[in-house]
């Protein structure tokens, strides 16, 4: 049996037309899948679909919707290190901070476009080495300090003193200097091009803090204080418990392209930490929290619960990939890797409890929501479709002889060390792969531990296969991280000079267009090398109370609760 690959958008549209996918879910998906949003806007579907709710609140003035109340959003961990983004290395921490800190740019999750926020406009020199920003006037931080070019420079200078995510976002060693031209004009220069700079400036990690508060707070900044100019003010961070924020009643500087710029309707917003997945799901069912990030196996815990629905948002980052060690027998044999790909029926896999029907079959290292126009069609020819008979024939042809239930060649059995986390095993996303592989006379030897065991063992290349992925909005960073020879987390034995050159060229590209011109062929090589099974394009799943309105998500796929309100 041979499956013809279908574009994820086609699969989603078919599901929507047949009623299998709800209107609310398709709208949420469209918020971060430009190709889907475009397809929904086509005649015949637009009327049914309407405007995707996750782009912006469907109101222009906060007073048009219910005011007040406290919303609680639960995750396993929101802040693992600090809320000081000049020092933090933790994604959810940046997502919390973005409610307090406004950023210079705003990336519209619907189309990936870069829009003004605290920077009203910018110019980029032809060589991509100098950015000149014109900043918004009349903005003040929560402590009364004025926002201006000096403030931005102080922030950038502070970032460059650490080794945080923000340091990488500002270009790391490529960053040269930030210079104040006048109160509203700032230039930033680089030693080498940093094409993703404007994208990174939309991330909470590069949000702008009050320079006064930053200097006064010292080591306590980001722990006992956090002062920005955003829609919420920091109240407290009780470690291992919650981060409490309150409404900034004077707020008037929402991103123009968001369609709403005034004070947020909620009085209070609390990010609560609930480490257990099932407990988080229970907390949204009994109404203690109004939103809970959940994982696929907990979907049945909330499905059908009164007043709760599941919002699926395509995750920004890599696909969830079962990557293989191409330098260790037997996965050093490309035919073995190819046969493994042919043995895994991704569409069936996604219907299993470990996936609960969420996500889309993976095609490339980056999912469709991460590439321009959501278009991965140029890579379809490198996909290896499900073909069980073909997989068995391929192994037969290459001398992998079935001996009982297991194949072997030259005395080596087709048993693969699957190194993973206990979380992935518990989530039911490992053992089904063993089931698929049993059909071709192969078996997984599952070695699971905690996060550190997993990273350490993969870095030591003591594995054949591992379930790997990363989050983030910058595709080039992910491809470099996993597939550029010599990178600390590129542990899959790839040593392809052409691939290295393409990745290097993408990293050094002065423009995003040029970056993608190199990244797409780089992904083609990764797929041709059959480094792994491009498992699935993952969704972030949120269980959300139906009382919540005006819900929006940022480009990373995390909730951005500006403009959000609670109905009675």
């Amino acid at each position: 049996m041979t499956h013809r690959p279908r574009k994820p958008v086609d699969v989603l549209l078919a599901g929507y037309r047949s009623g299998l996918i709800s209107r609310r879910r398709i709208m949420a998906l469209a918020a971060t899948m430009p190709a889907l949003a475009a397809a929904l806007a086509r005649p015949g579907l637009a009327g049914a679909a309407g405007a995707p709710h996750a782009l912006a609140p469907a109101f222009a003035r906060a007073q048009d919707v219910p005011q007040g109340g406290e919303m609680q959003a639960a995750n396993d961990v929101w802040v693992a290190d600090t809320l000081n983004q000049h020092r933090s290395n933790f994604t959810p921490s940046r997502m919390v901070a973005r409610h307090v800190l406004d950023c210079l740019t705003w990336v519209n999750p619907a189309d990936g476009s870069i829009n003004p926020w605290l920077a009203e406009s910018w110019e980029i020199s032809p060589d991509g080495l100098e950015y000149t920003f014109t900043l918004k006037e009349g903005v003040t931080f929560h402590d009364g300090t004025p926002f201006n070019a000096e403030a931005v420079k102080a922030n950038f200078d502070n970032t460059m003193e650490g080794d945080s995510f923000a340091y990488q976002a500002l270009g790391g060693t490529a960053f040269s200097a930030a210079e104040v031209v006048d109160d509203t004009t700032l230039t930033v220069t680089f030693n080498e091009p940093h094409a993703t700079f404007l994208l990174y400036l939309s991330d909470g990690g590069t949000g702008i803090d009050s320079p006064e508060a930053l200097a006064a707070g010292g080591d306590d900044y980001g722990v006992g204080s956090l002062v920005g100019s955003g829609p919420y003010k920091f109240v407290e961070w009780v470690k291992d418990s919650h981060v409490a924020l309150e409404k900034n009643p004077d707020y008037a500087s929402g991103p123009p392209a968001f369609g709403f710029s005034g004070p947020t309707p909620l009085d209070r917003l609390t990010f609560r930490e609930v480490p257990e997945n099932s407990v988080r799901a229970a907390a949204v069912v009994n109404g203690e929290v109004q939103m809970a990030r959940i994982i696929e196996p907990n979907v049945p815990d909330v499905q059908g619960a009164e007043g709760v629905e599941i919002i699926a948002t395509p995750k920004a980052g890599s696909s969830r990939m079962y990557l293989m060690n191409t330098a260790k027998a037997p996965t050093d044999d490309i035919n073995v890797r190819r046969a493994i790909n042919m043995a895994i029926d991704k569409e069936t896999m996604l219907q299993l409890p470990g996936w609960a029907g969420y996500g889309r079959p993976g095609l490339a290292p980056l999912p469709s929501n991460m590439v321009p126009n959501g278009d991965l069609s140029m890579l379809v020819e490198y996909d290896i479709p499900y073909d069980l008979e073909g997989a068995n024939a391929l192994l037969d042809e290459n001398g992998w002889i079935l001996n009982g239930d297991l194949r072997e060649k030259d005395g080596v059995q087709l048993v693969l060390d699957m190194v993973t986390t206990t979380n992935d095993v518990d989530a039911g996303q490992i053992e089904p792969i063993d089931g698929f592989l049993n059909e071709i006379g192969a078996r997984l030897n599952i070695r699971a531990g905690d996060f550190n065991f997993w990273i350490d063992t993969v870095q030591a290349t003591d594995f054949h296969m591992t379930l790997m992925s990363d989050s983030g909005y910058i595709g080039v960073g992910i491809i470099e991280e996993f597939f550029r020879e010599g990178e600390p987390f590129a542990n899959y034995g790839l040593a392809n000079p052409e691939l290295n050159e393409l990745i290097d060229a993408a990293v050094a590209a002065p423009t995003l267009e040029e970056q993608w011109e190199n990244l797409i062929p780089a992904m083609a090589i990764i797929m041709q090398e059959v480094v792994g099974v491009m498992g699935w394009e993952q969704d972030y799943l949120d269980a959300v109370s139906t009382r919540v309105g005006g819900l929006s998500y940022n480009e990373v796929g995390f909730p951005w609760l500006y403009g959000t309100y609670l109905s009675q």
Binding site: R87, D240, F453
Partner: protein, 308 residues
């Protein structure tokens, strides 16, 4: 007093052993805190990661790291968290009160339930009440606190909506975690009270007390229970340590702040100073509680004297 000082002196090698074992085990388990910190950066170089390891002293040989650590500990400095840079001693001070609150609540519950049911089972020996109590006790000993916690949440928080799911803040938030943690201890105490009581109920002084015409309640509470208390106190002391350890799981399930959750988080991120400091602190509490139990023996039973 001399005995107490001797016991405290003996605690020093125990602490050294605990610190060495914890240090060794943490460093032998696979995991690099710096790699965990940097994965996802897409561009963090090997050099940059190595610089961080160097700054944290993680590139030094293990014996050197241990000696440096112990030097600081002896000066009262437990170090700083690799992840948050917060002093470990401050983290312990912040997290201990909620753990102590939970442990004491669980202990109180375990003692009240355990002693009551133990007495009932002993007095009603062989009857249906005895069998039911012992069956419940068996269930209590067998049920993992993690599973019991989830069961309690399903019934009392989601279904009946009597208590909050997320612990912390007020007595209502303490009830379910305390039951989840204290139930197994209550079961063990009940079984111990029953067997100790049954042993002394056949003693001559109990027969004498009854022959004197004392009320059964007075016989049990005044004569039998006090003499049956020594093994029970030993078990209670040991259970206190068990409850501290059990808090690791229960705090996680009920999203409570505390030493247990701090330790889980530190172990997951290989935050060595926090994990080492936390384990050392729990060991100190354990040793002190056991010392207290030993001293209590003398107070309860004057025949036990350390001076002889």
């Amino acid at each position: 007093m001399r005995y107490a000082l001797q016991r405290l002196a003996l605690a020093v090698p125990v602490m050294l052993g605990v610190s060495a074992l914890t240090f060794l085990m943490l460093h032998l388990v696979p995991g690099d805190p710096v790699a965990a910190m940097f994965i996802g950066h897409g561009g963090a170089s090997a050099e940059q990661m190595n610089e961080v390891r160097e700054r944290l002293g993680l590139n030094d040989p293990l014996p050197v790291q241990y000696v440096n650590y112990m030097k600081n500990v002896l000066q009262g400095d437990l170090g700083r968290s690799i992840r948050t840079n917060e002093p470990v001693s401050e983290m312990i001070l912040r997290n201990f009160p909620p753990t102590l609150q939970l442990t004491l609540a669980s202990m109180g519950l375990a003692i009240v339930l355990g002693v009551s049911f133990g007495i009932i089972a002993a007095v009603k020996r062989g009857r249906i009440v005895d069998n039911v109590v012992m069956l419940i006790a068996l269930a209590g000993v067998s049920m993992p606190s993690f599973w019991l916690g989830l069961l309690l949440i399903s019934i009392f928080a989601v279904w009946l909506n009597w208590f909050p799911i997320i612990g912390g803040g007020g007595w209502r938030g303490l009830v379910l975690p305390a039951v989840a943690l204290g139930f197994a201890a209550a079961a063990i105490i009940a079984r111990m009270v029953r067997s100790s009581l049954l042993e002394v109920l056949g003693e001559n002084y109990v027969v004498t007390a009854r022959a004197k015409g004392l009320a059964e309640q007075r016989v049990i509470m005044r004569h039998a229970l006090r003499n049956a208390a020594i093994p029970v106190i030993t078990i209670v002391g040991l259970q206190f340590g068990g409850l501290l350890a059990g808090a690791v799981i229960v705090e996680q399930v009920f999203s409570r702040q505390g030493i247990g959750r701090m330790l889980v988080s530190a172990l997951q991120s290989r935050d060595f100073p926090v994990a080492q400091g936390g384990v050392l602190f729990v060991a100190v509490v354990y040793v002190l509680v056991n010392l207290l139990v030993d001293l209590l023996y003398g107070a309860i039973d004057p025949r036990i004297s350390v001076e002889r």
